[in-house]
């Protein structure tokens, strides 16, 4: 029974079935979605960390894989992420009470001057799906805003996104400001025009070209 519910939930996340009302995907129309199934799972006594790891993280992993193989595109990935968030909303109280441990906190934002946020949103959602608490600072984020967020979450890892060659250079002052405030804080960077060489040159602790690798990187540098 438990296994069946977790499988159903995992399927909802993999195929982007947010809740019963959502018409997507057509083949699951009218059926309960991630929202309803998570509630049912919790009511039937399934451990919240099992829900997180065996259904959500598991499904988002598959989604990331399919995206990197060009089998699905941005909308499908965002729908999966929305389904995951709908489930996650029910798990939030358990995170807050400490009943479920998250891997850590991840603060992410698109660097100042840059308004591209689709990639950043995907990374935020995938990282959340991998079991992290995510603080999303949005777009056009200045160095002070990253530092302020770090003050509220001193153990966080920071992620910075840039999509323009003209704004990727803005990441360097952000890293400098963060390291000046807290030298041990780890910072990872990403976005289409970046490279691992560039990341190293500006003093970042890591770079990845997609969310999947980003998650592995986070696990590695926070271990």
């Amino acid at each position: 029974m438990n296994k069946e519910l977790l499988e159903k939930l995992s399927e909802c996340v993999e195929f982007g079935k947010i809740n019963q009302a959502s018409p997507y995907p057509p083949q699951m129309k009218g059926q309960p979605g991630a929202d309803e199934i998570t509630r049912e799972a919790l009511e039937s006594g399934i451990d919240p960390s099992e829900i997180l790891n065996d259904a959500l993280v598991f499904a988002m992993n598959k989604v990331g894989q399919k995206y990197s193989e060009n089998k699905i595109f941005v909308p499908q990935m965002l729908l999966s992420a929305k389904a995951m968030s709908a489930s996650m909303a029910h798990l939030k109280p358990f995170f807050a009470s400490g009943a479920v441990k998250r891997k850590g906190t991840f603060i992410i934002g698109t660097v100042f001057g840059d308004l591209h946020d689709i990639g950043k949103n995907l990374v935020a959602m995938m990282v959340e799906g991998a079991g992290w608490e995510v603080i999303d600072l949005g777009i056009d984020v200045k160095a002070e805003q990253f530092v302020d967020a770090l003050k509220a979450h001193p153990d966080a890892v920071i992620g910075v996104s840039a999509l323009l060659t003209t704004t990727m250079v803005n990441i360097k002052p952000v890293i400098e400001a963060i390291k000046a405030y807290s030298p041990s804080t780890k910072i990872i960077v990403g976005g289409a025009p970046l490279s691992s060489d560039f990341a190293a040159a500006i003093g970042a602790d890591g770079y990845s070209k997609n969310p999947q690798e980003g998650i592995e990187l986070l696990d590695k540098i926070s271990a």
């Binding site: 982007g16 947010i18 018409p23 997507y24 060009n70 909308p75 965002l78 929305k82 689709i118 003209t166």
Partner: protein
């Protein structure tokens, strides 16, 4: 205009048309902010490009905020960069159903029409193309780009309504651009390149086609630009009926040219940033040579940048590119 397309198709020599207006703005000492706000200044920049570069056509600015501004979106105007939409205009289906299709006197639309009219009247040595945003990208700018990606699936009716309103406006605007006397319009649909081929067909092509049907004829060509496409949307782009397609640097031109019918002009695709802006005359020459080897044998191919050349692209690189196109025939 049919004449223009036929002459490119018949010619043994490949020509070039980078997407650019910034070099003109800079050469004349204006700022981007001035050029996007004042039609006369923008016209001067277009005219400068027409007179000073050996290209087969010139164009008005690729400013993807004019149309969103006309709908009421708030816009930021940096001095030396293209303006940006600063906040989401539409939050839900109710806002979409109340949304009014603006008239052509809204925001900076009259300034853009002025720039295009002056260019069409005064540039006699080559065709002038107008520029505008595509319906899906416009809808994304009004509704939020990430949100629309999801909404096309979970709120299809509201999105259909939004896309139809955007398209209605774009048809009116493109008809007005045509009436200024330009020879065509470059419709920029970058956000559609993030969709699968099927979604591109339903959320972009279907609407672009309405614009094409309303404005394209032997005197006026639609050039559909999609720099997000990595190959999955090429078929959908062809289905729009546009007589010319423009591709970004994320795609393999050789593949595009095998995929596209020989009577459609195909433009592309050197990286505007790494090749044009950050490259050197030597590197851009060798990049152009590689592209010539791949694409030069196709008579429907026109050399171009994959997208708008950013501000402060060195003029010497642009000249090296144009020379290379002539040299490596």
């Amino acid at each position: 205009m049919k004449q223009f397309i036929d002459s490119v198709l018949k010619s043994k020599i490949r020509k070039a048309m980078p997407v650019m207006t910034h070099p003109g703005i800079e050469a004349l000492g204006y700022t981007v902010k001035q050029a996007v706000s004042d039609g006369r200044i923008q016209y001067e920049a277009i005219k400068y490009i027409a007179d000073n570069f050996d290209t087969i056509a010139c164009m008005s600015m690729m400013d993807l905020t004019v149309e969103a501004e006309a709908f009421g979106a708030k816009i930021n105007f940096p001095e030396h960069e293209i303006p940006t939409v600063s906040e989401r205009l539409l939050a839900d289906a109710a806002a979409i159903s109340e949304l009014k299709v603006p008239t052509l006197d809204a925001g900076r639309i009259p300034q853009y029409l002025l720039a295009n009219r002056l260019a069409a009247e005064n540039i006699r040595n080559k065709p002038v193309f107008s520029g505008c945003i595509g319906p899906f990208s416009l809808a994304g700018r009004l509704y939020d780009m990430s949100e629309i990606m999801v909404a096309i699936y979970i709120e299809p009716d509201a999105m259909e309504q939004l896309l139809s309103k955007c398209t209605e406006f774009m048809i009116n605007y493109c008809l007005a651009l045509k009436a200024t006397g330009t020879q065509g319009v470059i419709i920029a649909e970058p956000a559609a390149g993030l969709l699968s081929g099927d979604d591109c067909m339903t959320c972009s092509t279907q609407f672009v086609k309405r614009i094409v049907d309303a404005v394209q004829d032997d005197t006026f060509t639609v050039i559909l630009h999609n720099c997000g496409n990595t190959g999955q949307c090429t078929h959908a782009m062809i289905e729009s009926g546009a007589r010319a397609l423009h591709f970004g640097n994320a795609i393999d031109m050789q593949q595009v040219l095998t995929d596209c019918p020989a009577d459609i002009l195909v433009f592309g695709n050197l990286d505007p940033v790494t090749v044009f802006k950050q490259g050197t005359p030597e590197s851009i020459q060798s990049d152009t040579k590689v592209l010539m080897e791949k694409a030069g044998k196709y008579s429907n191919f026109v050399f171009s940048s994959g997208c708008d050349l950013p501000p402060f692209t060195p003029e010497i690189n642009i000249r090296a590119f144009l020379n290379a196109v002539n040299q490596y025939q």
